[in-house]
């Protein structure tokens, strides 16, 4: 019976069984790098978007500037009336003790240290200068910190991490292309005589390159699918580890849909790399054939 699937008999020229395995390894690395980009972006977003604000009221039980109430009460009243603030929480005495114990080596009361009142809140506004001025007027010496400097460092860190992840992705793609090119050249060299015969019978470069490219793309896609699947359990585990660092980061019970879509996109991306690389390699090789 005639071979209708492989009418030019070129299937035999592209038998490299190692290629899908090597592409799978690259896809696995690509999956981790993509997850890294997503995690860094999500963490940076969550830390920057939900800025934490901390207020320290020294001598909280003393009289406020107005003299009508305590410094603590005056500060809390101003904070409660500020719309950019959310989740106001005054740390309890025990929370403060727990916070300071590692630094003090004992509890503050036994050391005779006066403790400030510490209030935390979420801050979604811009510059807190007006709020700081209002607090200082009501209770002079009150400290307000948004952690802006720390957030800027985190942003720089995550940006550099994202850049590294993108560089890894580019490297992985380049290595995958090199692997496809090597496998293709090996197949061409092993089948030089058969290809020369087919070319001598009038096959166009596009016919021969197209046959090879279809197989190259198929093998790359198969390898990438395997690699992406293998990356999933690893990513779920990493997501579980990253869960405490931010609500927007990958959750322990699953991966964000966008990340899953990006992982799925590795497969067509690998197919495109395989197809283009094989086409270029075969056409270049055929030009050398004469």
């Amino acid at each position: 019976m005639p071979d209708r699937i492989d009418p030019l008999g070129l299937r035999v020229a592209y038998r490299d069984r190692l290629l899908p395995l090597l592409i799978a390894a690259q896809a696995f690395l690509a999956g981790l790098a993509i997850a890294g980009v997503f995690a860094a972006s999500a963490l940076a977003q969550s830390w920057q978007a939900a800025g934490q604000l901390t207020v320290q009221v020294i001598a909280p039980d003393d009289a406020a500037a107005s003299g009508k109430t305590t410094r603590r009460a005056a500060v809390l009243r101003i904070l409660a009336a500020t719309p950019e603030l959310s989740n106001l929480h005054e740390l309890s005495h025990s929370e403060l003790e727990n916070l300071l114990r590692p630094w003090l080596g004992g509890d503050a009361a036994s050391l005779g240290l006066p403790l400030p009142a510490v209030i935390t809140a979420g801050w979604t506004g811009g510059s807190p200068d007006r709020l700081r001025a209002a607090l200082t007027a009501a209770a002079p010496g009150t400290l307000l910190d948004t952690g802006a400097a720390w957030a800027a460092r985190v942003a720089a860190l995550t940006a550099s991490f994202r850049a590294c992840a993108v560089a890894v992705l580019i490297t992985v793609a380049a290595v995958a292309a090199a692997l496809v090119a090597l496998a293709t050249r090996a197949g061409l060299a092993a089948s030089r005589e058969a290809i020369a015969i087919i070319a001598g019978l009038g096959a166009l470069d596009s016919d021969i390159a197209g046959r090879f490219a279809a197989r190259g793309a198929g093998r790359a896609a198969a390898g990438a699918a395997a690699g992406a699947l293998l990356a999933l359990p690893m990513l779920l585990w990493l997501a579980a580890l990253a869960a405490p660092f931010g609500a927007a980061a990958p959750a322990a019970d699953g991966l964000p849909p966008a990340l899953l879509a990006a992982l799925a996109a590795i497969i067509p991306a690998a197919a495109v790399i395989g197809w283009v690389t094989t086409q270029l390699t075969v056409r270049g090789w055929l030009r050398g054939l004469g």
Partner: protein, 235 residues
């Protein structure tokens, strides 16, 4: 033998053609053909003869564009071969049937698929391929061997598969390099009669052989090569 008069349009024209082959370890390329000039009309038949190493296969390689001349011009089917790009060269090759001295069959394909290869390259419809290849299998006595691989065939059978593959695409030009080299006299005669039948149907034929008896039995214009040069017709 009847051959068409040279008033027919010229199908192959060599003008002062030379060919050099690069030698890996030599400083100078080997000059294998020197200043060849000849013309073959459409529908013509030419013997290409000469001793081994005279350059017969090189001439056929130039005709099939498997080699490029170092100098001179080659016109094929009215086209200047030097001006053909890769696509045009491939399309030109589809109009040429080639019987190679060493058959050049694809070992992993069946006899049927080997014969069908030029038609599949030319993207003929499959029903037509089935019909034509089946006809040729019968014509060349290979019907029972249709599913065999070339390695399962005798030299003569492989020669016939190579011939069937060369003619299945109904080429305008058939070039054959020692097509009877692996055949006994009876088989050689039978194959030559097939080639002559094609020539009578209008196919231009160039047969390279050093078999003087074969040429004597089927007289036709001869291109005789000696040391890469064409001997004058009256020499």
């Amino acid at each position: 033998m009847q051959t068409r008069p040279d008033s027919q349009p010229t199908l192959i024209r060599f003008e002062d053609v030379s060919l050099r082959y690069r030698q890996p370890d030599a400083a100078v390329d080997a000059l294998v053909l020197q200043n060849l000039s000849f013309a073959i009309p459409a529908g013509g038949f030419r013997w290409l003869t000469g001793p081994s190493g005279a350059g017969k296969t090189s001439v056929l390689n130039l005709i099939t564009r498997a080699a490029r001349p170092a100098s001179g011009r080659i016109h094929l089917f009215g086209l200047d071969a030097a001006n053909l790009n890769r696509r045009e060269t491939a399309l030109l090759r589809r109009r040429i049937g080639v019987v190679y001295q060493d058959f050049r069959l694809l070992g992993h394909l069946s006899v049927f698929d080997n014969i069908a290869l030029p038609t599949r390259i030319a993207r003929w419809p499959e029903p037509r391929i089935q019909a034509d290849v089946t006809d040729l299998l019968g014509w060349t006595g290979l019907k029972e061997k249709s599913a065999c691989r070339p390695a399962q065939l005798s030299g003569g059978e492989q020669q016939r598969v190579a011939f069937a593959r060369a003619v299945v695409g109904q080429p305008k030009l058939l070039v054959a390099d020692e097509p009877t080299g692996n055949l006994d006299d009876a088989q050689a005669e039978r194959l030559l009669l097939l080639i002559l039948a094609l020539n009578r149907l209008g196919t231009t034929v160039v047969v390279a052989t050093h078999n003087a008896r074969l040429i004597a039995r089927h007289p036709a214009p001869v291109l005789e090569l000696a040391a890469g040069r064409l001997r004058p017709a009256d020499a």
